[in-house]
């Protein structure tokens, strides 16, 4: 895969960028509660439309 390092973030030419693990953990922790709550709510929609 043609990865290049941009400011330590891994970016590949398929058009996807990913966070390094330590930063990903930081970001996840920062928004975990909000994201979890969104998931709770979305489960009801998922059930409703049988996706």
């Amino acid at each position: 895969m043609n990865d290049i390092l941009t400011n330590s973030a891994v970016v590949d030419f398929s058009g996807k960028a990913t966070l390094p693990n330590d930063i990903a953990e930081f970001v996840i922790e920062k928004h975990k509660n909000e994201y979890d709550l969104c998931m709770d709510i979305s489960q009801k929609s998922k059930y409703l439309y049988n996706i």
Binding site: I4, T6, N7, S8, A9, V11, F13, S14, G15, K16, A17, T18, L19, P20, I23, A24, F26, V27, I28, K30, H31, E34, Y35, L37, C38, M39, I41, S42, S45, K46, L48, Y49, I51
Partner: protein
């Protein structure tokens, strides 16, 4: 008489919005057979012909051009716009703009108030994705479209994306709201099905012939990569 309904797809950014919008614009005429109008825009006014993908931007524009402190002063404009949406003889209107989910939620409150005063039921729906995916994707988009110069790590640490809290605020009212996890509906067929579910369209034949494999709006273009390397 059928009650008026305004369906608003509010994003969030980088969750397949462009795909949904392009499909509904393309199939806008067929959608009318279900009593739903996906209006178009001409000369900054709504028209009955679906001719643009992001047809919610007239609404977004009202708020983007002013400070939050001035939002309440814009209520009259929102009233006029909502009235114009229902001037085409359709009782169900569908508009979409992903930016609505990242505006201060006072904008959403004003839209709700206006619809309540006009006797319109407003239905919000949105998709969201995991923060570790959302940040890189959002970052690459702002590089491409807005010349963001910060690297991904700095961007992720310092930029607060108000996506998830905004969505929670939007659904924390009495109005009808639906949230979908982008990861769960990442297959385009599931995404269309969820949108049709919100619109109350039982048949999915509306999308016969839609290319469900087409790639839309890839996260990071070669142009963006070039710009990123240039600035480092």
């Amino acid at each position: 008489m059928t009650k008026k309904r305004l369906f608003i797809h509010v994003g969030a950014p980088k969750t397949g919005s462009s795909f949904l919008q392009s499909v509904f614009r393309e199939r806008g005429e067929e959608l009318k057979n279900y009593g739903i109008l996906y209006p178009g825009i001409e000369n900054r006014e709504y028209i009955v012909t679906p001719n643009v993908d992001i047809n919610g931007h007239l609404l977004t524009r009202i708020f983007r051009l002013c400070l939050v402190e001035e939002y309440l002063l814009k209520k009259g404009e929102v009233h006029s716009l909502v009235k114009s949406l229902f001037s085409f003889g359709f009782n169900k209107i569908f508009i979409s703009d992903e930016i609505l989910s990242v505006l201060p939620t006072l904008a959403i409150d004003i839209i709700k108030e206006v619809c309540a005063e006009e006797g319109i039921t407003v239905v919000f729906f949105a998709y969201f994705r995991a923060p570790e995916k959302s940040y890189p994707s959002h970052w690459s988009q702002v590089i491409r479209k807005h010349g963001e110069k910060r690297g991904l790590i700095e961007f992720s640490k310092n930029r607060h994306l108000a996506i998830w809290q905004n969505l929670i605020d939007i659904v924390s009212h009495d109005e009808i709201c639906h949230l979908f996890s982008y990861e769960k509906v990442i297959e385009k067929k599931a995404m269309l099905k969820s949108a049709l579910g919100v619109l109350g369209v039982v048949s999915d034949s509306l999308f016969d012939g839609v290319d469900l494999n087409k790639q839309v709006n890839t996260a990071l273009s070669i142009k963006a990569l070039t710009a990123l390397r240039y600035y480092q």
